[in-house]
């Protein structure tokens, strides 16, 4: 499978777009089939595209009608609670990615600070280079490390 990184934007080249549509639609329906079987649940899809006069549906016109009927029989609130469109869905994905980014940045920062701490220990890093925020974080890390050392010493002495 060609693992190219895809640019998340409308494909302007007509033939590329059409080919992409065919491939991805096939992949999408396959995923739906798998989800439905693996988890033993009902699902349906309706696709309107410039490439077909009629909408393409899955699993079948009857199947779609049955799922829609089940959907409509639910109270309005339940129908909409987990309903998303492009805007809300992308918004959710952005939020999640930002959270992951923050977490990753914190981890990197801690690794970086650990390096600084050990380098300072052997005089390899002038503390003069560090700003207040760096010193703050460094101080916290040293404190945390000393606590760990104390605990370990304590447990070894027992």
């Amino acid at each position: 499978m060609a693992r190219k990184k895809v640019n998340l934007a409308y494909i302007t080249n007509d033939s590329v777009r059409k080919a992409t549509f065919k491939k991805r639609k096939r992949g999408l329906l396959k995923k739906m089939r798998e989800l439905s079987t693996l988890c033993s649940i009902q699902t349906c899809a309706i696709i309107y595209s410039p490439y077909h006069p009629e909408p393409e549906v899955w699993p079948s016109p009857l199947g779609v009608r049955s799922v829609i009927a089940r959907f409509k029989s639910m109270p309005e609130a339940e129908q909409s609670i987990k309903m998303v469109n492009q805007e809300s869905f992308l918004g959710q994905r952005i939020t999640k990615a930002k959270d992951q980014l923050k977490k990753q940045q914190r981890e990197s920062r801690e690794l970086e600070m650990t390096q600084v701490m050990y380098k300072s220990l052997v005089g390899d890093q002038g503390l003069q280079n560090l700003g207040v925020e760096d010193l703050n974080d460094l101080g916290w890390l040293i404190e945390k490390t000393i606590e760990e050392i104390d605990e370990r010493i304590k447990s070894l002495r027992e």
């Binding site: 895809v6 998340l8 934007a9 409308y10 494909i11 549509f21 992949g27 999408l28 995923k31 739906m32 989800l35 079987t37 693996l38 988890c39 033993s40 349906c44 899809a45 696709i47 006069p53 829609i68 959907f71 129908q79 987990k82 309903m83 469109n85 492009q86 805007e87 869905f89 918004g91 952005i94 990197s108 920062r109 690794l111 600070m113 650990t114 390096q115 701490m117 050990y118 300072s120 220990l121 052997v122 005089g123 390899d124 890093q125 503390l127 560090l130 207040v132 010193l135 703050n136 974080d137 101080g139 916290w140 890390l141 040293i142 404190e143 000393i146 104390d150 370990r152 010493i153 070894l156």
Partner: protein, 229 residues
């Protein structure tokens, strides 16, 4: 990412089934979203969960697609009112912006992960080289006690340096604020006036600190020569 091959049949274990549903449902919507963005198609997907809740994804929105399908009105109205076109154009622009923003954040995330990975490798390499950088749990009692002494000294120096900078900047507070890193409790200031002592660099430490170009060595006398090994 766990790439196991799994038979396409109902998953026997309930927990496994629920987790699979969660992940795959999310992935399905992601694929649908991409299809809409890349190919400019309109779509509605309904998914019932094992707990009989319903998830749905729709572009431009679920309701209008369902209505359109049910009323067999397959042709988008050729004479769309100007207002509708305006709404659509606005929404499309929004979606374009969101996709761009998402791409940006995902790229940042990838870069940050790479950075983290290389930092991690560096740490592992350092840990092999210098005994004091090993995980605390792997150090012996004598080593720990020595390390602690060095750390306490370093702590004093950091406090002293912080004071120095703060007073230059005219800040009145000498209390450490919550670390920007961790946002946890206050780190109380020790009172760095106690005066730290500078020990002369030992030969050993000078060898290790070979990358240093700082003329100002504060060395914490890790005492390799004290017969640790």
């Amino acid at each position: 990412m766990g790439r196991q091959k799994i038979p396409i049949a109902k998953i026997p274990k309930k927990n496994h089934l629920q987790v699979t549903f969660s992940k795959r449902r999310s992935g399905l919507f992601k694929k649908a979203s991409e299809l809409c963005t890349l190919c400019g198609v309109e779509i509605a997907i309904l998914v019932f969960s094992p707990a009989e809740k319903v998830f749905s994804f729709g572009h431009p929105d679920v309701e209008s697609i369902l209505d359109r399908y049910l009323t067999r009105n397959h042709l988008p109205a050729p004479d769309q009112s100007g207002a509708q076109q305006l709404v659509d154009a606005h929404r499309n622009a929004n979606v374009r912006d969101l996709n761009a923003r998402l791409t940006q954040v995902l790229n940042q995330l990838e870069a940050e992960k790479k950075l983290g990975e290389s930092l991690h490798q560096m740490r592992k390499a350092s840990q092999k080289q210098f005994w004091w950088e090993a995980p605390i749990n792997e150090l012996g009692l004598h080593e720990l006690e020595q390390l602690k002494v060095s750390m306490e000294e370093l702590k004093k120096n950091v406090a002293k340096q912080t004071n120095k900078i703060s007073s230059i900047a005219g800040a009145s507070s000498t209390l450490y604020s919550s670390p920007a890193l961790y946002g946890v409790n206050q780190y109380d200031h020790i009172g760095g006036s106690a005066g730290f002592f500078e020990s002369k660099p030992t030969g050993f430490v000078n060898n290790i600190a070979s990358t240093s170009t700082m003329p100002n060595h504060h060395v914490y006398n890790l005492g390799y020569g004290h017969g640790l090994f």
